[in-house]
Amino acid sequence: MKPAAFDYLVPTTVDAVVASLALHGDDAQLLAGGQSLVPMMALRVARPEVLIDLNRVAGLSGIERIGDTLRVGAMTRQAQVIASPVVAEALPSLAAALRFTGHFQTRNRGTLGGSISLADPSAESPAYALALDAQMELRSQRRSRTVAAADYFLSGYTTAREPDELLVAIHYPIRPRARIVVDEVARRQGDFATAGLVARVECEGGRVAASALAWFSMGPGVLRSPNAEAALNGGALADIDPEAVADLAVGDTDPFDDHHASASLRRATARVLAIRALTTIRTEELA
């Protein structure tokens, strides 16, 4: 339960980080909050030759609203997002998602960018970014670019981030009309979910203008439900049949068996989550 030896780098600027990444590439791991990486190192599942600690890099942390976008620095701690008055006003569902993430003690260290970079298929932050169509801001010595969530999460633990790139910030579109529900079922508070859902529905004149249903713990990676979204979009809100849409949404998933839950339990749980979310959204919107 002790990490293998590594070389430790502790840069203080983004330029120094991307220079180290350009030099070491695949041999290096970025250390953000460490709440997933350090356990993996303790179990020797991860054995980086070089560990680049981001905790003393200036300018990677912080939350600001820029017009219709909420920009969250990659090293912002989950606890800071939850406590942020800016988040509470602009995007309270982000805080709701992170309250499900880990424990009080791990949220004090764990970062939003770390969770999104790891892309654990059972984690809340990647699914939330996917449901919101968030944009990932990446930097390397070669270029700066942004990647949409749909193109960023390639599969479980695999993202579009190149080995020499640093995730600098996450940009969430603020959609004042959207109703967003984050819900999950876990065996204990703080455990990874048996099934989890982020549902976003935007209505205009009683009709669904846009929707997103993003699942976590329901497949090899986080995933959307194109068939359920197609059934929702353009329809009258009052005519939504939550059970029928939930069946479509669960049909879009590819859950797994493991020692926590069988695939069929995950499907049954997910169906209830979808019915609950859609009923809540319909009731609130029609009220």
């Binding site: 030896a5 430790y8 780098l9 709440q35 350090v38 303790a42 009080f104 791990t106 004090n108």
Partner: protein, 166 residues
Amino acid sequence: MKELTIKCQVNGQAFEKTVPVRKTLLDFLRQDCVLTGAHAGCEHGVCGACTVIVDGVAARSCLMFAVQADGAVICTVEGVAEENGELHAVQAAMRDSFGLQCGFCTPGIIMTLVSMTAGEGATEDEMINALSGHICRCTGYQGIRRAVTKLAKATGEISQDDSHAV
């Protein structure tokens, strides 16, 4: 680099030590500072027995490297009671409520609750929730919950939710 010299303050005492970069903060506290109150349980962030307060917030010391604590102010369970031996309110509540038996998980729970009762103080619900970050195999948690209720009453933050009443 494989080794680094770090300076930090633990329970008010200054330490300056050269440590391997792969050494966890937990092992640094136990081996280099000889403060064995933070316990090594699972050593991968699940059990909570190693929880200490780093720069004011509760954190798993097994999930930090000692070199990351360079310049930090750390509090362990040894630094919680008054110098004259008078127990901290959290320790007293845990003792009075039979919140411990073997005591292995206790230092971690104490540090979480100490961090949460500092300043404005957390609500009873928030403290009960934070206990989910600790595993206790003796008490069945009921004594620990009673201690939290006692602490919440003392700070006037009584939960509106009766489901936590024990």
